[in-house]
């Protein structure tokens, strides 16, 4: 919500600078940004009382004192005698109506009203609606203006199930469903109460006589309606967070005053329907408790002064003001005091948790470490899927129809991960995921499972490069001298995977509980060795691979070649490894095969760029006497 700095100053006896005001707002817990002289505020949902000039200034009064800048109409007002029936007083315990008839037109607004539109970027609608909107900004109480001529029979308020369509005053058609708070006349819905009025009774620029409704609706009856019907509603935002149940008549008198400020009033009538006096809410004075909650040593006199400045009544007990729906306990009062003192001004006091625990590494961490040491990377996947089985748990309100069930297996997620990386030219993929899976029978079942998927080469070193990740590899990884068969390995067919890759894919999924611990018992955690490295952006451009085979006929140069190869460095070189090593004892020759993988984060590398890098990297090696690349 936006506030004009100078408007706020009008409500404060001291006149702080923008910077000073900003610091105090942060201290009080009101986040904001400042654009010129406008504060764009973000309030926590419990502070509906701050959604107005008067509300926010009530919080600031504790630092800057209170000023009462606005006038309300003080004269006598005739009783309205409105034909109104409140069928749901439990939802709307208090409602007032004001009828105003005006004469003449207003050509321009007074500065306080004009600034609300020009400085905050609000659109003018018509005279009465403009005042209604301004009052909501000034006093925090939404009001709704009906064109009086359209209310030609008994007006009824009720909270009821209705399945009707309704045209809002903004012209959108909405289909009401379930329970809604509505105003109706002649069985026609004329307003979605607390959210938005209807087109059929809306005021226009020519309206001279209005019926202004000003109510207290309980938040529970309004909450969620504006989202449900996709209506941007300032009124709903305020009612959802709670307005002041005692303010309705003062608000309507303020309405009269603003109208009088601009046009001549021909007639005013008012009526309040109060279904029960608002109860005073008191909390015992207990500064010892407050000090105990906060860990401070505040004197009672100061404590009470702080609360008094925040609008609390100080009698035999502390009287909570009607606009503070969020205060109900000593802890709530402690927070008020902490805000006034400043959270950052409360001293830290050492916390010693006496019961120290040994760091324990659980079996799951050992299992993970075992897999990682064997070259597996852990992935984490979202649990949502379109696949539906009898045992699937369905989501009532999914993000979309492709994510309307919880997965019952890790297989498809891991397969997606594998294919994603194959498309990025990865030729050795070893993934695992450990996750709870949920299914339903007559109850919800939870099972922690390990999923493993493999494809491609066993590794990139020259011993593993030609070996394939296969059934035997996976079986050996998990069997480890065990005679018990606690898992099955599935070969996933590539037929329907829309991929040209040929490597076979193998998958297994095992309940964690049944994995024999001897497999991973020696794999200790490396938690203490975590190194928060700064990550480098991943390239989305394709990589290019070049293989070279060196023939070393001068064995004295062998170490030089290996040293060069282990120290290759180029901005476009992403990876390099020796994938082949062969000693030809007959010819006294050594062959070393190296794979260079090039990739840039900036662009797809051209053949010329790759060749330049290759020449730079390999020249020092091929320049060695007795070392060559046959065929180059």
């Amino acid at each position: 919500m936006k506030f004009i700095y100078k408007d706020l100053l009008n409500f404060l006896s001291e006149k702080p600078s923008i910077k000073n005001l900003s610091e105090r707002l942060f201290q009080l817990g009101h986040e904001h940004e400042i654009n010129g002289e406008v504060f764009a505020m973000e309030f926590t949902p419990n502070r509906g009382d701050c959604l107005s000039l008067i509300g926010l200034s009530r919080d600031l009064n504790v630092f800057f004192g209170n000023a009462q800048p606005y006038k309300i109409f003080q004269g006598d007002i005739e009783e309205l005698n409105l034909d109104f029936k409140n069928l749901s007083p439990e939802v709307c315990p208090k409602i007032s109506f004001l009828e105003i008839e005006i004469e003449g037109n207003t050509n321009e607004y007074k500065p306080y009203l004009e600034n609300y539109f020009s400085l905050l970027g609000n659109n003018k609608v018509n005279f009465f609606t403009d005042i209604s909107n301004y009052i909501s900004y000034e006093l925090g109480q939404p009001t709704h203006c009906f064109d009086s001529s359209t209310i030609n029979n008994q007006l009824i308020f009720e909270n009821k199930i209705c399945e009707k369509s309704f045209k809002t005053l903004l012209g959108s058609d909405i289909n009401l469903s379930d329970k809604n708070c509505i105003f109706s006349v002649n069985n026609e819905i004329i307003s979605l109460a607390g959210v938005m009025g209807g087109m059929s009774t809306a005021c226009s620029t020519s309206t001279k006589k209005v019926l202004i409704e000003c109510a207290y609706f309980i938040p529970e009856a309004i909450i969620g309606k504006s989202v449900k019907y996709n209506l941007a509603s300032d009124a709903a935002h305020k009612f959802e967070r709670g307005v002041d149940i005692q303010s309705q008549e003062e608000v309507l008198r303020r309405f009269i005053e603003i109208a009088r400020d601009h046009v001549s009033i021909k007639n005013i009538k008012i009526q309040t329907f109060d279904e029960g006096q608002a109860q005073k809410f008191n909390i015992p004075i207990d500064v010892i408790r407050i000090n105990k909650i906060l860990g401070i040593d505040l004197e009672e006199e100061k404590y009470l002064t702080h609360l008094s400045k925040l609008g609390f009544g100080i009698e035999k007990e502390i009287v909570v003001p009607a606009f503070r729906h969020d205060i109900a306990s000593q802890n709530d009062l402690a927070e008020e005091i902490a805000r006034v003192i400043g959270y950052n001004n409360i001293e830290s006091k050492p916390l010693e948790i006496t019961k120290k625990l040994d760091k324990s590494v659980d079996d799951i961490n050992r299992l993970k470490n075992y897999l990682i040491k064997n070259g597996f990377s852990e992935v984490i996947n979202f649990p949502f899927t379109a696949n539906e089985e009898k045992k699937s748990i369905s989501i009532d309100n999914p993000l979309d129809s492709n994510r309307n069930n919880l997965r019952t297996s890790l297989k498809n997620s891991l397969l997606d991960n594998l294919l994603y990386n194959e498309r990025r030219q990865k030729d050795s993929i070893k993934f695992f995921e450990i996750s709870d899976l949920y299914t339903k029978s007559d109850q919800i079942n939870q099972e922690k499972k390990l999923g493993i998927i493999i494809t491609g080469r066993q590794g990139h070193n020259y011993l593993d490069f030609s070996k394939k990740l296969d059934h035997a590899y996976l079986s050996n990884l998990l069997n480890q001298n065990s005679n018990d068969s606690f898992f099955t390995i599935e070969e996933i067919s590539r037929t329907e995977l829309k991929t040209k890759k040929k490597h076979k894919i193998f998958y297994t999924e095992i309940s964690i509980e049944i994995i024999p611990k001897h497999i991973f018992k020696d794999s200790e955690s490396s938690l203490d060795q975590i190194n928060f490295i700064k990550y480098q952006s991943v390239s989305e451009f394709p990589s290019s691979t070049r293989d070279f085979s060196f023939s070393i006929t001068d064995i004295n140069k062998y170490d030089d070649v290996i040293n060069h190869l282990s120290d290759l460095n180029d901005k476009n070189l992403k990876d390099a490894f020796i994938f082949d090593f062969y000693e030809n004892k007959k010819l006294n020759e050594i062959k070393v095969g190296i794979r260079l993988i090039f990739q840039s984060t900036l662009n797809t590398l051209s053949e010329e760029e790759i060749q330049q890098s290759v020449n730079k990297l390999l020249k020092p090696i091929v320049d060695l006497e007795g070392v060559s690349i046959p065929g180059l």
């Binding site: 105990k292 306990s329 409360i346 009532d396 020259y462 938690l527 975590i530 990550y535």
Partner: protein, 241 residues
Amino acid sequence: MSSLDKINPPAISKDIGTLHPINQTKDYLLNLLTQIGFKEVHGPEIESEDFNFDMLNIKKSHPARQMHDTFYLENKSNVLRTHTSPVQIRSMLKSKPPIAFSSAGKVYRKDDDATHLPMFHQVEGIYVDTDVTFSNLKDLIHQILHNLFGKDVEIRFRPSYFPFTEPSAEVDILSENGKWLEILGCGIVNPIVLKNCNIDPEKYSGLAFGLGVERIAMLKYGVNDIREFYKSNLDFLGQFK
């Protein structure tokens, strides 16, 4: 000429895999809390509204309970937990103070855009004993943040609102570019919550805090886009060995 018998074949470098960076960060935080004295507890990701909301003083009218914020399951019979706090509730119901529990895991909110994911990770802690104060909470938060970001990191506490803590605070650190970054939420456990867990709020008080693991991981590793963590790209994962 030297003999081939004397040469050493190239060293074999075994491909080592990676623990997911989110789990590395989560485990690091849990390890830190264990060192302070917290015991790790576990709970399910599918929760009843009772444990996920009611016991935590999140009223029926609270926006977080709306269908646009929470994933409801099987005709509203359960929810995907929106935070790890229900784990604390389950654990408190089984224990008597003094207690110090940490919990971590996946949580779910109905969000999906460039900066919010429908699933993310939290680490939480709760400590209940006699005479636990807001001053103690500040000390604990300083311990955690000094460990994560160094002794010189500038920290500020702001009043905030969580139904399960009162007073509640959000904690920011000052980043290198001079901007305050929100790091965690914390507060004094609301006496209503203690009472719901059969703990006498007249005798005991507690502190609680929660961190978003992705947020900490992004800051510590310098990852700018939260979605990178869940692409399962080997080029990304391979950097966290």
